[in-house]
Symmetry: none
Subunit: 206 residues, 4 copies
DNA sequence: GATGAATGAGAATTCATTCAT
DNA sequence: TATGAATGAATTCTCATTCAT
């Protein structure tokens, strides 16, 4: 809220200011779709956005700062995912429900691939801001997923860890540049999703 | 081999030259343990190694070049992992065997965390050299893992995809800076490994 | 007076305007107490004052302009000093009288240290506005001091130069950031004042 | 010595490097003769010196850093002044001896006006490096001057403080941009020196 | 085999300043 | 009377890179 209220020059932000700030964020995501993260420069970002680079510094401290703002914004968009996890899962419709879950998860990544990838990149390298926001965003998801797992298969010894592992797998697959060329044979994200679904169902039915 | 035989000035490398080259690679890995990858510079790397930055250019083209050399070196160290996957797995000793597999996998990452992380980072961003070496290194592992899965549980519809997914999950967990703070509760790598083992066993027994 | 009557936008200044202008001047002096002169910027000054930097330009042309306004204001505050110098000095009460003079001089600097230091700094570097105001302010003081010296010790060959030298010494000592660490042993301003008094008395009695 | 041995890139400096470093220092002093201190920029300084501004950063951290190097160099040049103060002063030849002292002092300032002015400017504003070097350089001078004063006029209650005051006066006069326009009447440095001499003699004879 | 020396190129950053509201 | 918004123009500063020794 504070962030939205003041720019870095200490001025209250009006409509125009908020728009410019948003335009810069949008262009950041746009550019990171095409080019490597470590080559993104303030000057280029500013000029692509159509503002001068001084204007950039009115709204952000540096590149990391915009990136974080983007990640923060994306982190708010989790409602759909929570919704699927809040529904009861049952053995009868299990496959459809798991499938739905994986689909929604993939859609989330489809929509926020850039932000989520950056978040993980930085977090994996120990950057605290990003580490923390990842924890915050993931916490609720993992709790609910753990609950689903425990309820359906109470025999499991490590439901929580399994939740984490499944979550990691889905994230890893969703984040890859060109999916499937991890291995020898090109796999579409769709095919891999089938694998994920089968894997989850297997562990829940066991 | 050619690469090892002469430096970029076209001189044959003697003992001293080989040592210097190796010192630079070692320091690269050392530094990437502490600091962010995108902040690594030739000047600093050289000065930490105790050579002048001109010396760096005697052995490497640029930063990416050392990184790749490190990744290449690490990629040779896969024998243990292949060994576990070449043994027969059977339902009777399944848990012990899977456990062994996960252990060896984790040890591999423990030993080459920096190199493997860099490899994935670059590959995920579409860097071809790194993408290719990942494919090369992963291919054999995945084939063998797929085989193990197919043999133990022939009912599975997507054994190959499941292999990829399991592999992805293990890599994702192994690569994290401080493991477990993905989620709400700090998990040790050991605890997560239990989850992985249980997950794999579940899918194989199903 | 004209200056006080209207701001740089040509508007007549009302109470509020005068207050804002004064607040900026006060903050200028305040900030120069802590930080180096050459690092003072319009943006920071404005933001510390709690106005936007555009507001600054309503009242002042640039940083030098505020500084000069401050120096001008301080220059009006010389009555006490003139008063001491207008009294007769006589050999009988000499020490007390000289002491009084030095005290009043120090008080003046205590009160306007920042302004007087800036004035000298700029004047010493050849800035005309500041050079002139220094001359204007100092002229009367020096004349009266010369007179006191000549009357008490008519044998002196260079009474005027001695007045200038004494004045310079007092200013130099008064202006120092932490007094006395010019030399080996920390001297309080009080101790140095004793030296000044003894020096002046000596030359007048000789 | 260390400073002379390595540049900021961590390279050992050879003849050529030392020369370049010195050229930059010389040009610094040269430029500060004409222009205001706070307008001196790295780019201009470098280009006047005939090197690129990157080269500047091979040898110095920033403008303050060169300035300090210059001040340090000047601080070594105190032998003449110490020499005059080490001679015995006696009442018979007092005026000639004091005159000699003042002359040598003025010559010192003539030779190192820029460095000494910068040193005082920064020290007066509380810059520690400069404050310290001023203390170091002044300490010995003040001790000797105090000694001279005490020996010649043992009746004085504050010989040390008087030494400090005299020193301050001489420095203040020597540093002024255009001498003498402190007061109403233009005074040459020569005339003011007469005043200083008369003042010192008076206090010593008293 | 190693490295002093120097730099081009470009990126980050800062600031004073304007203008419309 | 005050201020959001935006920017031009410098300047600082960093780095990879080259080359002669």
């Amino acid at each position: 809220m504070d962030k939205k209220a003041q720019n870095l020059h200490g001025q209250k932000m009006g409509r125009k200011g908020r728009e410019t700030r948003q335009k810069i964020m949008d262009m950041t995501l746009d550019m990171l779709g095409h080019r490597s993260y470590k080559d993104l420069t303030v000057s280029e970002l500013a000029s692509e956005t159509g503002v001068s680079s001084s204007t950039f510094y009115v709204y952000f401290e540096d590149i990391e700062d915009v990136l974080f703002a983007c990640v923060e914004a994306a982190a708010l968009d989790l409602d759909d995912l929570h919704a699927v996890l809040e529904q009861e899962w049952d053995h009868k419709n299990l496959e459809a429900q798991v499938k739905k879950f994986v689909e929604v998860y993939n859609e989330l990544w489809e929509k926020h691939r850039v932000e989520l990838r950056i978040r993980n990149l930085e977090a994996d390298q120990g950057n605290l801001r990003f580490l923390n926001i990842r924890i915050e965003t993931t916490k609720g998801i993992l709790q609910k997923l753990t609950q689903r797992i425990s309820l359906l298969n109470p025999k499991l010894k490590y439901p929580q860890q399994i939740a984490i592992v499944i979550h990691a797998a889905m994230g890893s697959i969703a984040s890859q540049h060109e999916i499937g060329i991890t291995g020898a044979i090109r796999q579409t994200r769709k095919q891999l999703s089938n694998g994920v679904v089968e894997l989850i169902c297997a562990v829940l039915r066991n």
